[in-house]
Structures are given as C-alpha cells and as structure tokens.
Symmetry: C2
Subunit: 248 residues, 2 copies
C-alpha cells in the first residue's frame, strides 16, 4: 500500500508521499510515488500515485513518452490547463486498463490505481485533482483543502482538525508530517523515506523537493514530539471515575 | 459501517461500540452492536458485531435461542470456558453463512461479519476473542491489548500510543472515547449513541453498561477537549521554515 497526501492552500500546494510498495509481505520495496513535471516560469505539475505499481509506473512512462515526442504531441508539458493535464493522465490510465485490466481480472486482482495531480500552469491559479481508476477525476474546490490516496484513514483526523485553506505552507508541511507519522506507526505497509514537494503560488516552479528519511532532524522532532504531545494531551483530558454502581 | 473497540487490561475489560448502520447513504439506522450475556457470579460475556447486520442479528438470535432451550443445549450460558463460547459463536456464524452466503454472493455482496467476544467465566481469567466471517477466531494474548472491528483505522493511532495492559479501566474508557470521537468526526458511517460496557476482573457481572449520546457531559468534555488539545499539541510542535532555496 501507500499513503499520499496533497493540500491546496491559498499560498500554494504541499505534496507528501511515502515510498513503500508491497505485493504481500514478502515483496516489500522502495519506490517513489511522486513525479514532478516542471518547466520553470511556465508550469509545475506533481503526480502522486497509489494502487497497482505496475499500472501507475506504466502511466508515468506513457506520460513521459508523450513529452519526449515533442511539441506536436499533446502532453503534460504543453497542455494549456491543469484540467487538460488531468484528462491526459486519465487517458493514460485508460490505455493501461485496456492493456492490463482483463488479465488482472483473470488472476483475481483489482485494477485499483488512484492518483493525485496538482500544480500550476501559467495563466491559471494552482489546482488539484484526484483521479480514479476509471480515469475520471474530481477537482478540489474552495471547500476542499486536501486529497488523500492509499492508506488515508489513520492520518485523516489530524488534518480535519488543523488545516484550512488559509493555513501557511509551513503549517501544512508540519500537519502532513504528523499525518504521515501516525500512518507509518499504525500501518506496516507505509514507510520511509518520504517525498516532500512544495509549490508556492505563482512561482511556477518547485519551491522545495526533498527526500525525508529517519535521519531527518525535523521529522524526528515531529515524530517524537507528537507522540509525547498526544500522551500529554490525553493525560490532560478530564478523568471520570466509572467505578460506580451499574446502570440499567 | 460500524466501529467497535474492546480492550483487555489487567483489571478487566472495556467495550465501546457505535450504533450506526447503513446500507448505502439512503438507509442509515440506529442498531446497537453490543449484546451482554450475564449470569451474575458465574459469567459475563459481551458480544460486539460489525459487518452485514442481517447476518450478525441472526447470529445473536441463534445464540439467544440456544440459551432459551435450557441446560441440555450447549449455549453461552452453560459453556465452561470462553474458548467454548467463541466456538459457539463461530458455529452460529457458519450456520448463517450456510443459509445466506450463496444468495449474498449472487447479489454481489460479501458475507463480511466480524465479531468480538470477551468477558469472564468463573474459574477463568478474563479473555477476549476476535471472530472472522469464517467462524474462526484469535484470542488476545499478553501482547494484545485491544481488538477493533469495523472502521478501525481512524481511531487506532491514539490507542497504540497510550494503552497498555497496565492501564486503568478509567484510562481505557477515556482512550476508547477519544478513539471513537476521532472516528465519528472523520467517517459518516459511524455515529452516536455509543454503547459502553465495563467488566471488572473477577466480579463476574457487568460493572457498568450505559448508552452515551450527545447529551452525555463527559463525552462532550472529551470530544471538545480532545479537539482543543490536539490543536494545542500541533501548535506546540516545532516549526520549520521551508521557504529556503530548492534542493535537488
């Protein structure tokens, strides 16, 4: 499995993904789930992937091949809007489904890729899309602060509580790391290193792209600090003595 | 869906379950997921259920009918050990699967009940079992503090962090309520009122069995207090300024 999280804020976008892939517990590997497509000054697109690795790798390969074909081939590097970019990704997904879907079904596997595509193209505001296995997609509106794919449940409560569109990029990264840390602790199929990509509004380039592993000081502070803070918060909640006579 | 949680501690057992049932979003109802079988001084058993309500209700009905048949019929009220009780519940599950499994499959539905059975029978220590749809089961050992069924992921991180076998029953109830509150906030299919059952070691009766709804003062304190405490804990985590030059 995988956990990818992206947030759309007034000041830009934050993408965080893990790198663990497993096909059963015997086949655990490290694969990055985030791919950046960038032409500084013109566009920056970030694609996160979850689900069948064979399918999502093929999708990225198709998209990369389209770019390599040059300017006459519609691709992520020449499309005019992020909506068009989402259509291109959806189309690539459908081609892979056409190629692999039936065979997967014969072997009892679901075709279950899930993707997040976000970024900014010159002339547009930053946008964020969540693509389903069928190649259709939804776009984040002003009510939507984030999308998650993969093992999303463990790390959802903290995002619901602290992140708003007006949150700063630094707050968003902090929250994303807490959300990821909670997921890693409770689910073996999500693991380090993490890929962090930050896109600032109207910069039209990646502001920050880094790999975070267990030697990263800030992540260690967040991880141990959050454990301790949660325990403290729990202790400070009011206590109640339940050892009273039974009720009906 | 549903969320049921049970904890096995040195001093007893805590069971907490929600009461929301949904078959699609158009059919949302309130059904209790916890059933108590009690003969004070001899035994106290608590059964929590998740998954197909039609199946789990039928399981409870079969178990209740066996009890009504009296002392010559093996039942939850005359079995000698909790392991035997788990076998009886598993057997009831299998009979319902024999009755309904094929028809469900024809309609494209999974037979997916999940159950937790815990309590204490005179002569034994408190025990806790997690039963699968196939009627097989696992028992909590000294390394296992809790079992969850249903929508378990949202509320798992806090339990992993604060509950140990040595935790008090009051701490366990507090943690269970926090875990349930996180789940209710992030998942529409889990809702109030809650069923709380507390069993104290060697009392061989229910110590406390109550329904908790939105008017319950302590749950309101936990719910609002936890929101605020989480936000405070988040604010107090170290900040990092990511607006530095880009990395490779």
């Amino acid at each position: 499995m995988t956990y990818c999280l992206s947030m759309l804020l007034d000041t830009g976008l934050v993408f965080l993904s893990d790198s663990r892939t497993n096909a059963g517990v015997d086949h655990v590997s490290t694969f990055r789930k985030a791919t950046v497509f960038e032409k500084p000054g013109d566009r920056v697109l970030v694609l996160q992937t979850a689900g069948n690795l064979a399918a999502t790798q093929s999708v990225v390969t198709l998209l990369t091949e389209e770019i390599a074909m040059g300017k006459d081939q519609p691709s992520l590097m020449n499309c005019k809007t992020l909506h068009e970019a989402a259509c291109l990704v959806g189309s690539a997904l459908r081609r892979i489904h056409d190629r692999d879907g039936e065979a997967l079904q014969k072997f009892g596997f679901d075709f279950n890729p899930a993707l997040i595509l976000g970024g900014q193209i010159a002339g547009e505001k930053p946008r964020l899309f969540n693509l389903y296995a069928a190649g259709n997609f939804i776009e984040a509106t002003s009510d939507t602060t984030y999308f998650q794919i993969g093992e999303s449940k463990y790390g959802k409560p903290i995002i619901d509580r602290v992140i708003r569109r007006t949150s700063s990029l630094n707050e968003a990264v902090k929250c994303a790391l807490v959300s990821m840390d909670s997921t890693i602790r409770s689910n073996l199929s999500v693991g380090l290193p993490l890929d962090l990509v930050i896109v600032k509004r109207d910069q039209l380039r990646v502001a920050r792209h880094m790999s975070i592993d267990s030697s990263n000081d800030y992540f260690r502070q967040i991880s141990s600090g959050w454990s301790e803070a949660l325990r403290q918060a729990f202790v400070q909640l009011p206590d109640h003595d339940w050892s009273q006579p039974r009720d009906a």
